[in-house]
Amino acid sequence: MAESELAALHRRRFLKGMVVAGGASITAPAAAQSRTPEKPNGNASPPTAAARANEREHPPEVDRLTTEKSGSDFMVDVCKTLNLDYIASCPGSTFRGLQESFINYGQNKRPEWLTCLHEEVSVGMAHGYAKVAGKPMAAMVHGTVGTQHAAMAIYNAYCDRVPVIIFTGNAGALNERRPGVEWFHSVQDGAATVRDFVKWDDSPMSLQHFAESTVRGYALACAQPPGPVFIVADTKLQEDPLDEREQRRLKIPRLVTPSQPIGDANAVREAAKMLVAAEAPVIIADRYARSQAAMDQLVRLAELLQAPVVDNRSRMNMPNTHYLCQSERAGGLIASADCILSLEPVDLYGQLNAMRDQLERTEISKAKAGVKVITISTRDLLVHSNYQGFQRYVSADINITADAQTTLPFLIEAVQREISSGGKNSIAMRGEKMREAYDGFAERARAEAVLAWDTTPISSARMYMELWEQLKQEDWALVSDGDFSSRWPHRLWPLEKHYRFIGGSGGYGVGYQPTAALGAALAHRDAGGRVVVGITGDGEFNMAPHTLWTAAHHGIPYLTIIQNNRAYHQEVMHVQRMANRHNRGLRNVHIGTTIDNPNIDYAKIAQAYGAVGIGPISDPNDLSEAFRKGIAAVKAGQPALVDVVMQPR
């Protein structure tokens, strides 16, 4: 045996001895490895040829303590091919290998690691980000317990059809798990908790498998209808050394952005005929527009037909500054429509029918008999059985399974052909009626806004218009749903660009608002520093107040306004309904529904997390100054919060 081989064998013995001797060698493995092995005792006999041969055939077990390259490094290589700018995470040991590789090997760039204080924030943030950025970011959640924390946010993203790339870790093989905690955090099937409400999941068995599943997952997440995907990264795969030979064998597939499904040409042509022939067509838009171009296309179609558009506000679909945006008289339009075109509907049945929430549940149709219904949607391409977000079934006259945004240019072309071949005088007349109706919307909204203008608690109308006064000169974006505050932004603010508004949660899982606002604000920051405002109820904010710490830590500026009605107000009304139904009076409906006694000081909470905190504001005359300060802080790069004590809605 050559001397060098002998020396190597002795070094292995020495290192093993160091591991047995104590932890010091573990904390400084590199130094230990570099030491010169002790020389053999001079009195000892040199090993015999037989002993050497035996040692070569049966080398003593020696722990390898360090490696320059691990499987998780390759996983980072995979992620870097995917146009992921961020990965949000609350730390967890099941992905410690990946985390270390992202921040060191990956140099914490593209993706950059963002620290969140709860897994629901990591995923909710990614949800809001994707709706503004138009591409997914990643979230990394701890195995089992972190996945459970993240579940509601994943469900919201699934219901809202938003792409999110979620990774978790799992110690799969029992001999790889440390006794105790690691067993509690290990599972047979890491995605089982969320499988019902992700678009796809996988638990790769090798690094090559990880590469293909991750690229496939990204592509699937972005294909219409989009949705969250969930990839389980085995801890052994993450932490095992990756030698050069194995690495050379690994291939990362090229990501190919899929084209989106377009409606069948015959069906589109029939739809155009039906729309042009209609006397009272109505267009309903739900999760339709993903871009400004899509909004422009909708305007084009509406103008061609002079058809009113009912924007259900799931996305920013139709500029409310256009006279054909007629959402405010949705009920009347649907009642008189003879043809309805529904683009990416969320609940078309509920739009066409009403069910009374009384002891006896009676139903009535809101549409007239014989109305023709056309749907263009990808909703049938993503239906799971257990969770019932797919809503009741509607028998459409023409059901086009396709991406509405991609199909609309073809429908416009077909409508143009149909109009030019047949001609319709009634189309222009219809437009005049729409203009007349539109002119009354803002006037009516103003007349309603004054009714509680000077009251305390402060009315939502007053709050929104005081805010608008401070915001109107900025390039602004609203990243919250207006439905729980009387839709004032849609009634009184001009929403004319796609990035002004992003819709709501999708699944109505409470906690979306502050978390999605954080992610949306991040995307707006990167897009050029728009002034971002999110209005959230106090109940909802309490699900994730620490979003403000993440915002402060990572320099994500936006203004949070707490619509503080000191209650889970929707639940107040539900319990009140039950008390009325049972004739038991209303004395106790506050039990379990209100958030007072003591009142929560949200400004102090904001300050404690490193944000600017203002309030509570109880006098409507103090709003102006509070908002001015809040917006100034945001423009200076800080997250800020204004707590406004308000009426229920």
Partner: protein
């Protein structure tokens, strides 16, 4: 039930000038009506000023319903509103509420509020 709904719908359509309806209403105690408006949770859906909200309940401030229509709506709501039976809101309570709603202050002219000139 359908007939009752239709009857009520007809009643609401037949509403005449506010002052004419007030004449047929029983005398009500405005102060007690104000207390009841909060105690019985009216404000939860209709707002403290009776201004209403699109998703929860319409404006009730200075209601122009005749008292009979108002009472019918309380007892047998035509819409999503929870029913208020006499055991939890007597006819006199209803009259007090009605009196309170009727005398709510007239809203300001929107044109007198500069902030409302902005917006869309």
């Amino acid at each position: 039930m359908k007939l009752m709904i239709l009857a009520f719908a007809g009643l609401t359509l037949a509403v005449g000038p506010a002052c004419a309806q007030q004449a047929s209403a029983p005398a009500g105690n405005v102060e007690n009506g104000k207390t009841l408006y909060v105690q019985t949770g009216c404000y939860q859906c209709h707002g403290y000023a009776g201004q209403g909200a699109p998703m929860t309940g319409p404006r009730v401030s200075r209601t122009e319903f005749p008292f009979e229509g108002f009472l019918f709506q309380l007892r047998h709501p035509v819409s999503q509103m929870p029913p208020y039976q006499a055991t939890i809101l007597s006819d006199q309570d209803a009259a007090d509420l009605y009196a309170y709603l009727r005398q709510m202050p007239a809203p300001r002219d929107p044109k007198s509020i500069p902030l409302l000139k902005a917006g869309r």
